[in-house]
């Protein structure tokens, strides 16, 4: 008897699932009056008509999902956006050219040469590169803390693991600086303490490549080294200090903002949109005299900014319905133009000329080459 109970509870769940699977169409607004057989038929149709599948960067994810939503509303096409990170996205994207592979990958940096080659090797040829806008990387602190205005050189000297003894003598020493004033007397007299993105993050890569490397380049003897031995220079410029002055925060930038509010002496490194949303709690530090603002990032006056991209398989246009239309929606004025809905959520738009060029690439399906 009791065995029967267990068995019947199990059978109940099985049949409930079957019901959920078969009649699920009823929860869909489009087909509220469908009979079960119709629902099964429409499910068959659903598997035939492919969704647009997007993978890639978590930085581009908010913009990509916004376009997916607006595009879906306007046209009824279904877009599935996965947040896998830039590297993971390129891997999935270049995995093959079949219909089950991703149509688009979002990226917070350009596709690497190795990734492009992987694509070609796996038969993915004709990739269209679409630049969508810019993202500033800000160095912020609590709203009531001392304002910061640092040069790229200060950033390098504050966070590198090894720094040259002086501007002209490139003998390396472990980073001796503990106070901002040791580096630059104009900076506030505070201990160096920074919270930044972990090594897995694309924001970290961009910070290291743009801010740290940019700072290292301004030191004359390192500039010479860069010409002679690029690899050695890269090592010196890209390695962050490990003595506790730079602290890897989590991937969650909201938590980072909270940390800055609680620790006024600390500074934090994260994407511009989090500064934009929290201007009542934190303020962005000036870099090379430029404030991290929409206008400055867009014009390139603010030095620490990067371009955001998505990549599209030319071969999938026509096979994945709505794919080109999605890319056109993304590059439309309403979406990524000045005053568009993507600007509202923190994307720094391209200039009109740049956007026109990118849009033409999408219209003509012009593949790019490395």
């Amino acid at each position: 008897m009791k065995m029967f109970k267990i068995a019947s509870a199990y059978a109940l769940t099985v049949s409930l699932t079957a019901l959920l699977t078969a009649c699920g169409g009823n929860t869909n607004t489009q087909s509220s009056t469908e009979t079960q057989s119709n629902a099964i038929e429409s499910a068959k149709v659903d598997t035939r008509v492919k969704d647009i599948r997007i993978v890639g960067s978590s930085t581009v994810y908010p913009f990509s999902t916004k376009v997916a939503q607006e595009f879906g509303n306007k046209t009824g096409f279904k877009v599935v956006v996965e947040s896998t990170g830039s590297g993971g996205g390129h891997k999935l994207f270049c995995d093959g050219n079949g219909p089950e592979t991703a149509d688009v990958t979002n990226s917070s940096r350009r596709q690497k040469k190795s990734e492009f080659e992987m694509c070609t090797e796996n038969g993915v040829e004709g990739v269209i590169e679409v630049k969508i806008g810019y993202d500033g990387i800000v160095i912020a602190n609590a709203i009531d803390a001392a304002p910061i205005d640092m040069r790229l050189k200060d950033i390098y000297l504050a966070f590198a693991k090894q720094v040259p003894v002086s501007d002209t003598d490139c003998t390396l020493q472990p980073n001796p600086y503990t106070n901002w004033q040791d580096i630059n007397p104009d900076l506030p007299p505070q201990t160096i303490e920074a919270y930044g993105p972990p090594p897995t993050s694309g924001t970290r890569d961009a910070f290291v490549e743009i801010a740290m490397e940019g700072g290292a380049k301004t030191i004359p003897c390192l500039a010479v080294l860069r010409k002679n031995d690029k690899k050695a220079f890269g090592n010196i410029a890209h390695t962050l200090r490990e003595d506790g002055k730079w602290i890897d925060g989590g991937e969650n930038d909201n938590a980072l903002v909270q940390t800055l509010v609680n620790t006024p002496s600390a500074i934090g490194v994260f994407g511009y949109s989090f500064l934009d949303q929290n201007t009542d709690k934190i303020k962005g530090g000036y870099v090379d005299g430029a404030e991290p603002s929409f206008e400055n990032i867009s014009s390139g006056v603010y030095p620490v900014s990067r371009s955001l991209y998505f990549y599209l398989k030319k071969d999938h246009v026509g096979k994945t319905p709505g794919l080109q239309e999605y890319a056109l929606e993304f590059t439309s004025e309403e979406a990524s133009g000045p005053g568009g809905y993507l600007e509202d959520i923190g994307l720094v738009p391209l200039t009109d000329a740049e956007r026109a060029k990118v849009r033409a690439d999408v219209e003509n399906l012009r593949a790019y080459s490395q």
Binding site: M3, L16, P62, K66, V81, E334
Partner: protein, 453 residues
């Protein structure tokens, strides 16, 4: 604790050994000063143990309360939302200049301008372009345009008429009225300008903006806009995952346990299998995701983001838990039950299935529910098989792309807009409620089965 007590217990053991040498002096053993001292010490120790126990419970309860209070404290406001009522004139000249009433064309038309016009009808004297934009930002741009859009798409005859709609305000207005945006903050640092606040207060006074129960949160699917985001698609996705995982893991887990405990020969092979099952329970869950990616997606070519694959991966996660719990439950049944059955002529299979298993059922079910609760909270393995995704439709079959509730919580918590924090907390409250319901059901089932024992 144990470090402090160890020397004491050692010394006590020594004393016991000493006194144990003369067992016949019973009276002095209990009444002597040394004995009384020992007794006092023992009682103090017991008292201390109870105190520690109480402190442990107190600590556990306090942390749970703290978690619940902070969650409910930030989350409860997400259950209401501010809505704005607008008269939208569906002008044919904007929506359908060619007058064909083609639904597809109507769907792609520019609804932004209609909403802008109806907002300007609410507040007089807004002419400046910048002001118009600020005024339009009070309403949920995506929510309002899409609401009208879908109405017109379904019923093209509406064009030319005036529609009265109640749509969500923008998340910033909602946050301001809920007090999450401080009016005292200097204007430059605030997301809402002084003029906007003036407008909002006027609209609230006139009853155009009103708080309402947030049905969107329960019936809506995931959205990029916090004011439109809901948990329905994620909840359905999670239910599908749970069902698939249960259907696979329960029979396999229970079956494996019964066979291993009752019928399998005891040799080094079954020992090895047992060790492996126990190890499997401790494997980090991301490993199951990698396995799912390699086997189900790459080898069998199953679709990405499908709850079927997710459920299969999570079944692997739940199966060892269920097996271990089932074996413990079977062992706790008194051998006299089986022996009794065997002695009156039942076969081994009959003895196990008719007598032993029903008595073990409460334990098995508890183990299963714990396994399922683990599955409900998993996100890591889902990343590998593509379920950390933005899905705007409620999945209708286990082969369609879906997300899951914990995944959605994770994605929401990492979004920049302030309004996400209350929604994240609210979604966690829902997840906890589902867990409590599941555990409650397990307890109810267990009590019911135990009564009939």
């Amino acid at each position: 604790m144990s470090q402090i007590e160890n020397p004491e217990t050692k010394s006590k053991k020594k004393k016991n050994r000493k006194s144990g040498k003369k067992p016949h002096k019973m009276t002095s053993l209990h009444n002597s000063e040394a004995a009384l001292l020992r007794l006092k010490k023992r009682r103090a120790k017991e008292g201390r143990f109870i105190l520690w126990g109480r402190l442990a419970i107190g600590f556990a309860v306090a942390s749970l309360m703290w978690l619940l209070f902070s969650l409910v404290g930030t989350g409860y406001t997400a259950f209401t939302q501010h809505f704005i009522t607008l008269d939208v004139k569906l002008e044919a000249s904007i929506l359908d200049p060619t007058d064909i009433r083609d639904p597809e064309k109507l769907r792609a038309a520019n609804y932004r301008r209609l909403i802008q016009t109806s907002m300007q009808a609410q507040i007089e004297g807004v002419t400046d372009r910048k002001e118009k934009r600020a005024l339009f930002n009070l309403v949920s741009a995506s929510g309002a345009t899409n609401y009208v859009r879908q109405k017109v798409y379904k019923n093209p005859n509406l064009v030319g008429q005036t529609l009265t709609v109640t749509v969500p305000t923008s998340d910033e207005v909602d946050q301001l009225l809920k007090g999450y945006i401080d009016r005292e903050t200097p204007e430059a640092r605030r997301k809402v300008s002084n003029q906007q606040i003036e407008w909002i207060d006027e609209l609230v006074d006139r009853g155009v903006i009103k708080p309402k129960f947030n049905t969107i949160f329960f019936t809506g699917t995931d959205s990029r806009d916090p004011e439109l985001a809901g948990i329905a698609s994620a909840v359905v996705g999670s239910l599908m995952l749970l069902s698939v995982a249960f259907i696979l893991a329960f029979p396999i887990g229970v079956g494996a346990a019964i066979y291993l405990d009752e019928f399998a020969p005891k040799n080094k092979w079954t020992d090895l299998i047992e060790i492996n099952i126990n190890n499997l329970a401790a494997v980090p869950s991301i490993v199951f995701g990698l396995l799912g990616l390699a086997v189900f997606l790459n080898f069998f070519g199953m679709p990405r983001s499908a709850p079927l694959v997710g459920g299969m991966v999570l079944a692997l996660r739940a199966f060892p838990t269920i097996t271990i719990a089932t074996r413990a439950a079977l062992r706790s049944v008194s051998p006299s039950i089986t022996n009794g059955a065997l002695s009156v002529g039942a076969s081994h299979v009959q003895a196990v299935f008719h007598h032993k298993l029903p008595l073990a059922a409460p334990g098995i079910l508890t183990g299963t529910i714990i396994g399922m609760a683990q599955v409900l909270g998993e996100t890591a393995p889902l990343l590998m098989i593509g379920m950390v995704a933005f899905v705007t439709e409620i999945p209708t079959s286990v082969m369609e792309p879906a997300s899951a509730l914990p995944v959605q919580i994770f994605l929401w918590s990492d979004s920049a807009e302030r309004a996400w924090s209350e929604r994240t907390s609210a979604a966690i409250i829902i997840l906890l409620l589902v867990l409590i319901t599941m555990n409650g059901f397990a307890i109810w089932l267990r009590n019911k089965l135990e009564k009939r024992r």
